[in-house]
Symmetry: C2
Subunit: 392 residues, 2 copies
C-alpha cells in the first residue's frame, strides 16, 4: 500500500505541461455527470463554441479528441489519409518526424521536405514540392516544440488556392492560445492542438477541427478509418446533433478544458497573445544580457517556447537537476539532435508571467555561476525588467 | 462568453461513469508536475504496482493507456493483431461487436461466434471453434456492459493450454474492481479495462496488461503497429526502465487513478467484490419483489451492471427522464437490439452502496406507478433491505 501522495508545487517552464490556473484544477473536482446527460450536452456545446473561437473557425466538427496532443495528430492523419494517398510532410524537428511516422502507418505514399532544425520553411521551397508531388495532404508544424520555431502561415492561404486538391494539415500543439491561429483565414483543413501548453489545462485532450473539404474526404473514403477510436464518422455523431454514443467522453477533463477556455475568453485572445509576446521578449532580453544566445533567429521565434543555446562546458543534466531540486523549477532539455545543445524554456498560458521570467533568469544565473560560467550579477533579471517597465 | 458551470450532483447508476469518491476528484486538483519529473515517475511506479494487484498479474507492462476504455480495446488489438492474422471474436453484445469492428480495421482474418444477447458462451462451443479455426487471437468480453452478462473465465486456462499459439484477449471494462479478475491464473494474455466503472475514477484512462507471450508477438511484428499513439513498443519504454519520452501522460487523470487504486487497496479486493455482490443481490431481490424480472439468468449476472427487463406498456425514455430530472438519478437504457427492452442499472465502485439500492428502488416504484404499473408499496426497498439485514 502506498502512502498519500503530495506532488511538489513545481513551476512548469518546460515544453509542457504548463501550470494550470487553480480554477482549472478545481473544475475537475466538480460532480461528475453522465456523458449523455443533458447538462453535459450543454457543456459540450459551450466548449465547441469556445474552441471555434480560439481556432478562428466556423467548422462544425471542432471538438476535443479523448487523448493527448499526439492522439490529435493521429486523429488528423488516420481520418484524411487513405492507403496510397500522396502526403507531403515538412520536417524541421521532432514533431515533423512524428507526423511522417504517423502518415506512414496510415499507408501514405510519403514524401518529406526537410529544413535545418531551428529554421522555418521557405514558401518557395514548399510550393516547388507541392507542384512536383501534387500531394493529397500537406502537413506542417506551426510551432515546433522541439526547436522553438514558429512557421509563418499567413501566406499559405494563397498558395493552397493554387492546389485545390491538397488538404492543409497543421500542428498547433504549442501555439494555440499563445500565438494567433486562424484556421479559416489561413485555409487550414485539419488543425489539432493539445490542452497542456498555451491553454494551460492538464494534458489529456486534443482540440481538433476539420474543414468542410476535410469532412468530404472523410465521408467519401473507400476504406474505413483504421482507428475505431478516432474515426470522425462516428465521433462526429456524438459531438454533432445526433449525440449517438460512441465512447465515454472524459467528463472531468472536459470540465477542465471548458474552464481553461472560459479563462481565455475573459482575458481575450488579443491581450493573451500580447502577454505571451511581452514575456517572451523580456526573457530574450534577459538571456542576451547574460551573454547567452537563442537558437532561433528573430522573426521565427515562438513566444511560448524559447530555445536557449547551452554555453560550451555547461553540464546540462546537472543544471536542470539543480533548477528542479533547489528552485522547484522545470525547464526542458533538447530532443533528438538538439539534446545537450539547448534548453527549452516554456512560457505558456498561466505559466507565461513576469514573475516566472524573473525567477527563471535569477535561478539560471545562480546555476550557471555554480558551474563557473560568469554572469554579470542580476543582469538577466534587470534586462527583463526593463522590458516590463517599458510595456507599462 | 459562458457563465460558470455548476453540474448537478447526479447519482450515477447507469453503465458508467459511476460516481467517484470525493478523494479521487480532489486528487485531480493537486499541483501538476511534469511527465518526466522524478516525482511523477514515483507515482507511475506506485500506480503500476497497484494495477498489477487488481489485475492479478505480474506482467511488467501493466499501465494506463492515455484514453478511455475503447482506446484500451484498440490498444489491445492493434498491438497483437497483424494483417492477415486469424482472430476469433465472441459476440453476445455491443462490445463484442465493437471488438470485431476494431479487429477488422487491423486487417484481421476475422471469424465471429455469436451467442444470444443476455447469455454467456458455452466452453464447448468455443473450443470447437478454436480447433476448427486455430486463431492467433481469441477475444472475449468478461463483463458485457450492454447486456449485464458475466462470462465465466475460470476454466479458460485449461482450454488455452491446448492452444499454445492462441493469445487470449479479454475486455474487463465493467468487471475490474467489482468482480474478481485473475489475469495470470486464467491465462489471459491481453486484458484491458476503463477507469469510470468499478474503479470509480473519471473516464479518460484505460488500464491494460500484456503477458510475456503477447509482448513476444508485439516485438516480433513484421509490420509496425498501425497506431503510433498506442504502439506498445514505444509506450512501454516510457513506462519501463528507460522512461523515454513518447507522449505527455495525462498527469491529473493519473493522480485520480492512483487515488482510486489506493482506496481499493484500503478496502481490500475481497471485501470490495463481496460488497458488489451483496448490493447486486439486494437489488435483484427488490426487483423481483416489485414483479419485475432480470434479463440474465442467475449464474451469469454481473454484480456491477444489472439488466432489468422493462415491463410491457412502460414508456422507457419518459421513465428515465423522470428519474434524472426529479431524482437526480441516472440509469442506462438498452443498446442495439435491447433498446427499449431493458434498463441498465449500474452498481459500480463508489456507486455500489446500500443507500443507492434503496433510493433507486423507491424512485423506480414511484416512476412505474406514475405510468399505471401497480407495484406493492415499498415492496422493492423492503425486499432489498432484508438482504442487507441478513448480511450483517
Amino acid at each position: 500500500m502506498t502512502g498519500e501522495f503530495h506532488p511538489p508545487a513545481r513551476i512548469l517552464m518546460g515544453p509542457g505541461p504548463s501550470n494550470a490556473d487553480p480554477r482549472v484544477l478545481l473544475a475537475m473536482a466538480k460532480p461528475m455527470v453522465g456523458h449523455l446527460d443533458p447538462e453535459f450536452i450543454r457543456i459540450m456545446n459551450n466548449l465547441q463554441d469556445l474552441l471555434r473561437h480560439i481556432f478562428g473557425t466556423k467548422n462544425p466538427l471542432t471538438i476535443p479528441i479523448s487523448g493527448t496532443g499526439s492522439a490529435g495528430m493521429e486523429a488528423a492523419f488516420v481520418n484524411v489519409v487513405e492507403p496510397g494517398d500522396r502526403v507531403l510532410v515538412l520536417i524541421n524537428g521532432v514533431f515533423g518526424e512524428r507526423m511522417a511516422d504517423v502518415a506512414e502507418r496510415c499507408g501514405a505514399n510519403l514524401r518529406t521536405l526537410a529544413a535545418p532544425w531551428g529554421q522555418a520553411f521557405d514558401l518557395e521551397a514548399i510550393e516547388k514540392e507541392l507542384c512536383a508531388f501534387q500531394p493529397r495532404v500537406l502537413a506542417i508544424v506551426h510551432a515546433e516544440t522541439s526547436t522553438g520555431v514558429l512557421q509563418p502561415l499567413e501566406e499559405f492561404s494563397d498558395m493552397m488556392k493554387k492546389h485545390p486538391d491538397t488538404l492543409l494539415l497543421v500542428d498547433t500543439v504549442t501555439s494555440l492560445g499563445g500565438h494567433p491561429v486562424k484556421v479559416d483565414e489561413w485555409g487550414i483543413d485539419v488543425c489539432y492542438s493539445g490542452t497542456q501548453k498555451c491553454l494551460s489545462c492538464p494534458p489529456g485532450l486534443a482540440p481538433i477541427t476539420f474543414s468542410a473539404r476535410a469532412m468530404e474526404k472523410i465521408k467519401n473514403r473507400a476504406k474505413k478509418v483504421q482507428s475505431w477510436y478516432l474515426d470522425m464518422n462516428m465521433v462526429g455523431k456524438y459531438w454533432g446533433s445526433d449525440r449517438t454514443y460512441h465512447h465515454t467522453a472524459p467528463i472531468s477533463m472536459t470540465y477542465a478544458l471548458l474552464e481553461a477556455l472560459r479563462i481565455i475568453g475573459e482575458e481575450g485572445l488579443g491581450p493573451r497573445h500580447e502577454r505571451h509576446r511581452r514575456n517572451h521578449l523580456a526573457l530574450v532580453n534577459g538571456i542576451s544580457a547574460m551573454g547567452l544566445s537563442m537558437l532561433v533567429d528573430e522573426p521565427y521565434r515562438l513566444w511560448s517556447l524559447n530555445a536557449v543555446s547551452i554555453p560550451p562546458g555547461i553540464d546540462d543534466p546537472r543544471l536542470r537537476k539543480k533548477l528542479l531540486e533547489e528552485y522547484n523549477l522545470e525547464i526542458g532539455g533538447g530532443l533528438g539532435t538538439l539534446k545537450g545543445k539547448i534548453w527549452r524554456v516554456g512560457l505558456m498560458g498561466y505559466s507565461s508571467n513576469e514573475t516566472n521570467v524573473l525567477y527563471f533568469l535569477t535561478a539560471l544565473e545562480q546555476a550557471l555561476r555554480e558551474q563557473g560560467f560568469e554572469v554579470p550579477k542580476g543582469a538577466g533579471a534587470n534586462a527583463a525588467k526593463e522590458v516590463f517597465i517599458k510595456a507599462q
